[in-house]
Symmetry: C2
Subunit: 148 residues, 2 copies
């Protein structure tokens, strides 16, 4: 099981990302939404529901710490609509089994992740669809597991 | 489907990673092997087969472009033994349904990935278990999908 981590609040952010003024830095988190994913069982002639999800996420995005980008394939095609979140120096996350209605949850999860101080997305406070739909997480490049 | 990419050979590597002499740079690819994964259906009292896979990979590693690190959880627990590959500025890959015998294939895949010139792991030449066991891939932080 993924290790639950304590909830972080925006107040826990490092000073260089907590400014409420104009931002010079890159957004903390990039949220990639697959626009070619299809909900299993839907007719092949239907437009891919992933495009609807990607558009819904883009339209609802409001956190300057989260950049939303469409992507064509996360190679998670068997698990319904998919998205991934990446953060500089942090873990990367892949989610599946999403629906076009998951947009607010994806954005809430991305904001939670952006506010984390340890590079992990907190388990507590994470929207349910990002718990149930957890596909995998990937360590940052220079991660070394600490001995127990 | 993941986009197949042409096979890259070691000769395609940029000059700064192709040196056969002593290496100053960090390895191109980090191969994380989950040591707590269990093969589905095995008794809970058995030691996790992931530990055997992690040890087999470590013992067989020989490419200075590939660093092998054990990790405790990739949150891919339902899909058998798991591993992930990460490369600076490249895509990240998660594989599942591995066995302790997958060590040589994982290392071959990591070497293939290290030699890629576009940050993607080539499809052609990739060991079968890294095709069948593909779980997901994650874009690099600053990736932007090019228009078709």
């Amino acid at each position: 099981m993924e290790r639950p981590a304590p909830t972080e609040t925006p107040d826990d952010r490092p000073d260089d990302t907590a400014s409420a003024g104009p931002r010079d830095a890159a957004p903390a988190v990039t949220l990639f939404v697959c626009q070619t994913c299809r909900t299993p069982g839907t007719p092949p002639e239907d437009a891919p529901q992933g495009a609807r999800l990607a558009e819904a996420v883009r339209a609802a995005a409001h956190d300057p710490d989260v950049e939303v980008k469409p992507v064509r394939c996360l190679s998670n095609c068997k698990r319904g609509l998919s998205a991934a979140m990446v953060r500089a120096g942090g873990w990367s996350y892949v989610f599946g089994d999403l629906t076009p209605a998951s947009a607010p949850d994806l954005l809430a999860g991305a904001t939670l992740f952006a506010g984390s101080t340890d590079g992990l997305m907190p388990w507590r406070g994470r929207p349910d669809c990002l718990k149930r739909g957890m596909i995998a997480r990937v360590p940052p490049l220079f991660f070394t597991e600490e001995p127990r």
